[in-house]
């Protein structure tokens, strides 16, 4: 069966929103949860506020508590007032938004609940023009994914244009598995009910403007790409630092650790975007084909010598931003003898033509001095040290720093002559800041990603092979760490990680950049 493409709407020509999704029913599984309240519904409300949702767009919350539609709406309004980018809630916008907001009570494991949900969906198709189009957002612990997928399939709630029906899409949240085996199992379950093109794996980093700007910076400008290789680049550093600890997510973190929580997903995405080859088109598969090649080219950690290129740490009591904070083992619902890493630093190599022998230093950690995500490209020094013998001249390599959050921007550091009769140099920076140049606050990552799902564009979502390849690379190291009798290296909260991480990079004659 072929689908007939609709003719474009001529009134959309030249408008900011050239593509508008068709109205659909978005079902949020786990509608009483934290993610729904802090991110999903505030993002949907902001989209409605900015006029980006189609008329008739319908949102159905599905969870256990015994709410009615009205109680659910009141609860969500409160959440939007607290968390939406476009807060406080505007009465007129809310009134219209709330008309499309419903609640269905049920347990994820109860087939009857799916029946009720399906009836509601069919009713919405009739009253709100949603035409059988479905998006299931699984804001649920990952162990529920198989049962939800199975019951959706069994109840006939999944359709596909290629089989003659309207579309069904499913959005899943990280973690995408605990290791390669569980990720494969999750993906295997997914494909029994859905096809890969129907699955949208959210990595909210990809919804960030600055992350998307990496592609623009590299491939819309002529000047960077010629230098973007081993000939000119000495090394690359990627930092994802958080100042917070594990907060209330102790049990989750105990089963994950920072490598699973940040490095396997967010950092792999950043690394892929920095290192990928130009895609043949700005289309979902073309972009993701190039990204996965980077992960595939990652060199294995040296067996038996993993610690030479991977370091893990765990924070002890200290102080962050002036506040005294407890150590990880003293956190709520964390084992007092836990050996889970809250910090990891790695030296990795992308073994391909462009990047051969260029180290990429990655580090991620909790309870570091500040919250910052930053990529820095460190260039090789000038080929001949012309000013070496001149007193007062200390040339430094050029650095291109890309700040992902907060205070998003790009800075280029280079040496300049200090004005005066003698030759003295000092490093200066040329800076671009989003806030200064573009003023307005960018949309939240979840807004962009929800809209992309409604439009059916999966460019900004992780594909199955990306996820599995990243696990295949990281798994052996995680295994070694789990088997090791050594605990992670301690570091006081509020410092940049354990001394072993500094030693790792200093052995190569380099230093961590202070982001």
């Amino acid at each position: 069966m072929t689908t007939v493409a609709l003719e474009p709407n001529p009134l959309r020509e030249g408008l900011e929103q050239e593509r508008v999704p068709d109205a659909s029913c978005l079902v949020i599984f786990g509608a009483s949860g934290d993610l729904t309240h802090r991110k999903l519904l505030p993002a949907l409300y902001s989209l409605a506020h900015d006029g980006l949702l189609p008329a008739g767009q319908t949102i159905i919350g599905f969870a256990r508590p015994d709410y009615g539609d009205e109680a659910f709406r009141a609860d969500i309004r409160k959440a939007c007032n607290e968390f939406a980018r476009t807060k406080p809630v505007d009465d007129a916008v809310w009134e219209n938004f709330a008309k499309g907001l419903f609640y269905v009570q049920g347990d994820f494991t109860e087939p009857e609940a799916y029946n009720r949900l399906n009836q509601k969906l069919t009713e919405c198709d009739r009253t709100r023009g949603t035409g059988g189009r479905r998006i299931y957002y699984l804001a649920v612990p990952p162990n529920f994914f198989p049962v939800i997928a199975e019951l959706l399939g069994a109840e006939g709630m999944v359709t596909d244009p290629e089989r003659g029906g309207p579309y069904t899409r499913v959005i899943i949240e990280k973690p995408f598995g605990h290791d390669l085996a569980t990720a494969r199992e999750l993906n295997r379950v997914a494909v029994t009910t859905f096809r890969e093109r129907q699955v949208f794996r959210i990595d909210h980093y990809l919804g960030k403007e600055t992350v998307q700007n990496l592609l623009v910076l590299r491939f819309a400008n002529g000047i960077f790409e010629p230098f973007w290789n081993r000939q000119y680049i000495d090394h690359v550093q990627l930092t994802v630092a958080e100042s917070i600890g594990v907060e209330k997510r102790g049990p989750y973190f105990e089963s994950a650790g920072i490598a699973r929580d940040i490095i396997q997903n967010h950092m792999m995405q950043l690394l892929s975007l920095v290192a990928m080859e130009p895609p043949v088109a700005f289309e979902a598969d073309a972009v993701r084909d190039e990204k996965v090649k980077v992960v595939r080219a990652l060199r294995d950690f040296p067996a038996g010598h993993e610690s030479s290129s991977a370091v893990r740490g765990q924070y002890t009591a200290g102080s962050v931003l002036g506040e005294a904070v407890p150590g990880y083992r003293q956190e709520e619902r964390v084992s007092p003898t836990s050996r889970v890493e809250t910090y990891a630093a790695m030296k990795v190599f992308v073994d391909n033509w462009r990047w051969a022998d260029v180290p990429f230093y990655l580090r991620a950690g909790k309870r570091l001095p500040k919250r910052v995500t930053d990529i820095s490209i460190h260039f090789r020094p000038a080929p001949y040290p012309l000013f070496k013998k001149v007193a007062g001249v200390r040339t430094q390599p050029n650095v291109l720093a890309i700040r992902i959050q907060p205070d998003e921007g790009i800075a280029l550091k280079f040496d300049s002559k200090v004005p005066g009769p003698t030759v003295r140099t000092a490093p200066v920076t040329m800076e671009f800041r989003y806030a200064t140049s573009f003023g307005a606050e960018p949309p939240e990552a979840y807004e962009r990603l929800l809209l992309e799902t409604m439009l059916g564009d999966s460019t900004l979502f992780a594909r199955r092979d990306e996820v599995e390849t990243a696990w295949a690379w990281l798994d052996p190291l995680l295994h070694v760490w789990e088997e090791s009798p050594e605990p992670p290296d301690p570091y006081p909260a509020g410092t940049w990680g354990p001394p072993s991480a500094d030693a790792m990079i200093e052995r190569d004659g380099r230093r961590w950049r202070r982001p």
Partner: protein, 358 residues
């Protein structure tokens, strides 16, 4: 000089020698760098505003000062009076605003006032003051000058965009002048009256987004537009409604003939005297379906409603009467001016001529 410069940083207008505007600005930023706290200078545009009266000059300066928060820019406001005494004077000041965390973002404003034969010296002076590698927007404040085309053309030389606001136009011939300027230069002109229509266009487009409605635009048979105007006799106030009708006609694939009529389509306007102007309601009749788009007077929203056997729920779009600086910001945030305006202008002019003849 330093005291003067401190005043300029504080946002005051400081008179400077027009031969050394650029040097004085450089000094201003040097002082700010060494003495000031975390100041960032930013510019994405050169914006040149042309005013012909001191009221226009003051309001252009205020409007662009506000606009520079969202679109940092070097602002150059010029006021000329060929009939005035032969003089030329210049002032500078800084437009600064706080970005949070004590950081200030500043951009600069230059004012030039010239009279008599000194007016001819203004275009080269303005050209010399433009920041290189930044686009140039030229905002003609008020009505368009039909006389002195050579002067206008030399001013517009480096412009990447010409911005006008047809709400100040007093006849359809002014629209004709905008069209001719657009045809003669490489950049199509931008009209703030067209930018005012953004939400109305989005709302009208949303009516035809559902697959079941997609084909119906081609069957458009009637357009009725009701708008408030503050001066019923003034042509400029009707342009927004004329643009909206002409756009619907053009995008529906229909044409307006030379006498201003649209074959097989009835197009009517109702203008109501009121304290504030703006479109209130648009009704569209298609084969087998009708749609209404309405602005709620207090709630700042547009609602669309599609009747008939189709079951499309009410949609809603937030809107508010945009201030001129917000319209300018919107326009400058576009990578290029909307070429659709050039498609709409000829029809709007024809309908306008028919209406003024009637």
């Amino acid at each position: 000089m330093s005291d003067n410069i401190r005043d300029a940083i504080a946002g005051e207008e400081v008179r400077v020698d027009y031969n050394s505007i650029e040097q004085t600005l450089a000094e201003l930023w040097r002082i700010e760098k060494t003495e000031g706290e975390a100041v960032t200078r930013a510019a994405l545009w050169n914006v040149v505003a042309h005013a012909s009266s001191s009221e226009h000059h003051t309001s252009a300066s205020e409007i662009l000062g506000r606009a520079s928060i969202a679109v940092p820019q070097r602002t150059i406001v010029i006021r000329t009076n060929p009939e005035g005494p032969p003089e030329m004077a210049a002032w500078i000041s800084a437009n600064c605003h706080l970005l949070g965390a004590g950081k200030q973002v500043c951009s600069e404003e230059i004012s030039i006032v010239a009279g008599g034969d000194r007016v001819e010296r203004v275009p080269p002076l303005v050209h010399a003051l433009l920041i290189p590698d930044m686009p140039v927007a030229f905002w003609w404040v008020g009505d368009l000058p039909h006389e002195n085309e050579a002067y206008v053309r030399s001013l517009l030389g480096p412009a990447d965009r010409l911005i006008v606001d047809s709400v100040h136009f007093d006849s359809p011939e002014d629209l004709g002048l905008v069209q001719r300027t657009g045809e003669r230069t490489s950049t199509p002109p931008a009209d703030l009256n067209w930018v005012r229509l953004d939400e109305w266009r989005a709302a009208a487009a949303s009516v035809f987004d559902p697959p079941s409605m997609r084909g119906r635009l081609k069957t458009l048979r009637e357009i009725r537009i009701i708008a408030n105007v503050t001066d019923i006799a003034y042509f400029g106030e009707s342009v927004e409604a004329l643009y909206l009708a002409s756009w619907l006609v053009a995008q529906a694939g229909m044409g307006v003939d030379d006498s201003g009529n649209i074959p097989d389509l009835s197009c009517t306007f109702e203008f109501r005297p009121a304290d504030t102007r703006g479109i209130l309601r648009v009704d569209l009749e298609m084969d087998g379906s009708s749609a209404a788009i309405e602005r709620h007077p207090e709630r700042c929203v547009l609602t669309t409603n599609v009747d008939g056997q189709l079951n499309v729920p009410e949609a809603l779009l937030r809107t508010s009467r945009k201030k001129v600086d917000e319209l300018i910001v919107r326009e400058l945030k576009q990578p290029e001016s909307d070429r659709l305006l050039m498609k709409v202008l000829p029809s709007a002019i024809r309908i306008a001529r028919r209406r003024s003849a009637a």
